[in-house]
Symmetry: none
Subunit: 247 residues, 2 copies
């Protein structure tokens, strides 16, 4: 659920927006003046800010500048003023959109969706915890979470241990087929995925009996992700049926 901060000094408009946004399943925070808006964003950064420029305490432009000093949260400006210079000033201060009052509520909702969509494409995806590793499916990335307390710092010589000695966030390298299998299993947490379904969805319907290859790649995944590949804890085998990701 996305959270939206609405900043306006007219409590009637504030209530109307709150009702409309709640009806669309947004979480709504409100602020009545610029100072409250700045502290609200600092306390709990929202996903979108809807900002009326006609505030009683601070000039709305200064609120934009204050926010842009440290955050890129999308800002949609509401304003009763229609003159072009004011729009230019607000947009150049860092606002992302400008809507003049009176406005159509459906248009505002559409602009909020556009702002959220814009933000979503640049954000890293949700991460799945898998034992000592973190899997980020959209980024195609697996990183080790807790640095093993054991003496892993032994490999000092210049050997190219992939991901072991490079940086503080050691990454795990998976091959294309391993990624496809892992993604399919992780998309159904706790559920059994039949062998023939894995084969048809990854290799195509013509290879639905190539269980050898499947076992080969499952072994690769366990070797890279399981603490004890011989006794897997997350990528389990269901004999005669298929495989299961146990969260």
């Amino acid at each position: 659920m996305n959270r939206i901060l609405v900043v306006d000094d007219e409590s009637q408009l504030l209530r109307a927006l709150r009702i409309n946004l709640r009806a669309r399943h947004y979480e709504v925070d409100t602020a009545h003046d610029g100072a409250a808006a700045l502290s609200a964003v600092a306390r709990r950064p929202p996903d979108v800010v809807v900002l009326d420029l006609g505030l009683p305490d601070i000039d709305g432009i200064d609120v934009i500048i204050g926010l842009r000093g440290w955050t890129q949260v999308p800002i949609i400006v509401l304003s009763g003023r229609t003159d072009g210079a004011h729009k230019v000033e607000a947009l150049d201060a860092g606002a992302d959109d400008y809507v003049t009052k009176p406005f159509n509520i459906d248009e505002l909702l559409a602009r909020i969706r556009a702002a959220l969509r814009h933000r979503a494409t640049s954000d890293i995806g949700q991460q799945i915890i898998l034992g000592a590793y973190t899997v980020d499916l959209p980024a195609h990335r697996v990183t080790r979470r807790c640095p093993t307390p054991g003496p892993t710092g032994a490999d000092r010589p210049g050997a190219d241990q992939p991901g072991a000695s490079a940086s503080g966030q050691p990454a795990v390298h998976l091959t294309p087929t391993e990624w496809k299998i892992l993604a399919l299993l992780l998309r159904h947490p706790g559920a059994l995925v039949e062998s023939h379904r894995l084969l048809t969805e990854i290799w195509g319907p013509r290879y639905h009996t190539a269980t050898d290859s499947l076992r080969f790649h499952i072994a690769g995944l366990r070797r890279k992700l399981e603490a004890d590949p011989a006794h897997p804890r997350y990528l389990l085998t269901e004999a005669g049926l298929g495989y299961r990701y146990q969260p």
Copy 2:
């Protein structure tokens, strides 16, 4: 210099926009119908699209949908229609902004700046540290950071020409294609960017199999930015998948 594609069937408006945008040092492409717009974006993807919805051949909404199928280029819609339903339709189809005609040219310019800023600073700060170099995405500049040579004996025998030793302002020159690849990778730090996506977003959807060119330009980037181009540390290859910028 940013390139803008303006799509409109009124040649008078087209000319006025071209003059105004050129005066602001934008590079301007034009198209007078939807088919020309789609092919123009596919041929040379611009940095922003300004799209009139009242086109003679294709419905403007379908142009938006066609573009959003493969690119995230910002789209600013121009339209003579003021009804809210139409705005909602365009924004939900994937447009980033909606301006009703007649519009104030200064407002349109400010919205173009907002779209470009959003793209340039959506996920990261202004300057990115990449080994011995600093990359400034908005300014399109790469400069050498520390005058000290690399930490691991970066001096390659007989090669000291690339702008580092000559002047007191050590800058690295990248070609336009190299810039696009680098910007796309750096905008998703740590994430894997598939070869297919690099090709479609930079060359257009018609060249989605030209991996030869991609390898050619990646080699150029590594030669200019990596201390040891044969063993890259920041621009990594994921065989069979794509490339990754490792911060």
